[in-house]
Amino acid sequence: MNSPWKRWLPTLIVLAIFLLPLLLISPKTYITLTISGLAMGMLLFLVASGFSLIFGFLSVLNLAHGALFTWGAYIGFTSFSLINQWTGWGGSDSIFLNIIIFLLALIIAGLLVGLLGIITERLVIRPVYGSHLFQIFITVGAMIVMEELIRIVWGPNDEVMPVPIKFMGSWDIFDVVVSKYPLIAIVIGLILYLTLFMILRKTKIGTIVRAGVENPEMVQVMGHNIYRYFTGVFAVGSALAAIGGGMWATFVKSIHPAMGGEVIVFALIVAIIGGLGSMTGSVVGALLVGLSYNYVAYLVPKAALGITMLLLVIILSIRPTGLFPEGT
């Protein structure tokens, strides 16, 4: 089982996904697609990491995660629009004010959806801890209710997501077209990943959460109120989904009530590829999916979704628990 071939195969897959497209795509296009793929990957990471952390720690399959993502996008949309109405920072020539309004919208979305996550965990999830079947039923129900609430509050139609003016357009670096927002998304995604990584690695709370991913019963036996941690992790996971939603909406410049359902499929694939419960697994899985999707979408557009499924099948056949084991 642990032959060197199998041990190195995941690394080979990563390298193949990263380098093989160079044979078929011109270097300039390759760089543009790579940046776009990395940005998509970072956005997927935000959604998948929350889903993965919730499954790893609480052993809960939260299929309402996509609805929390959509709520994040809508709250981000409303916050941005309202703040922009009062201040005009979104249309300002100052990149600093553009970043502030964008971050404010994301923080508000994260906080409010984190709160929504706490309510969901207490009312919906807590009665079904330990039963995956009931979790699927009840979280699908919660997803439908949350989506319908969006239709009631914001209406059923698509909305155009406002984008800070300095985030639009592209830079021309040595004749290579580099879109601005994907680069910003990569930086924000990386900062969030590193922050989460450091919290999980260096703080006591993070250590307890990692211990809980491995053995939640022993965490209780060691005197920690596991339910408080369950609620906290659920809130953080929901907030990450919301930030992902807000950033994704800015990426595709539109929002609609069913957008979460589309992204949750990617998030599931990413979380499984990376290894459920693993933060590093989520980021690597997300980048693999983002890159392969973008390269294939350029070469054979119709096969774009298929390639992520193929990636899932190949990786699971080599490592059934994903690229990174739980908790790393």
Partner: protein, 244 residues
Amino acid sequence: MEVDPVVEPILKVEGIHTFIGKHHILQGVSFEVHPGKVTVLLGRNGAGKSTTLRSIMGLLPPSQGTIHLKNRTIQGLKPYEISRLGIGFVPEDRGIYNLLTVEENFRVAMLQEDGKSREMMETVFEIFPDLKKFWKTTAGNLSGGQKQMLAIARPLVNRNELLLIDEPSKGLAPIIIDHLIDSINKLKEITVMILVEQNFYMASSLGSDFYLFDDGRTVYHGQMEELVQNEELKKKYLGISGTN
């Protein structure tokens, strides 16, 4: 049973019944644990010893009966509340966090990081020097014996009054078991212990009082020297003869 009537028991379990799903596993378990002693729970596989420890910890709450820690009733409390009252638990599978380092395993176990806990860490290092040596090692890479030592040492950092240890000798080589017996003997000065053990050599080396379990009930108790001599009891309830 020859128990000093003046000394109040640290733990008193009275007539507990516990179900796992529909299965009625404990059907009347009663025993007392006294300060300064190692109380050993003995019996064949499936007699209810491990379930008793899990019931005390609140992991399998009993449906009937009472459990008192000193003067406080603890049945019905959550496992983390029971743990905070001063009971440590070492499960049969050791419950080590294999992906965390030895240091991180202790960090999770330590409820308060202060001078007292640091002092206790020094005592733990004296008893289990390997843990200091492998402080930064991932626990999953430790040997079986080292993992068991880590499992036993972790709850000690909170100066727990009572330590429940489930089958510490499981899966260990005889030489390692001797080493473990020495270490656990040193723990007698720090904490009171309840030991569930199938290995009669280990049980008799460490135990002062014993309780025999059969079909989810406590059926006999006494002092360990008595059991060592009583071939009939050993054969009837443990299926063994001699000290093996």
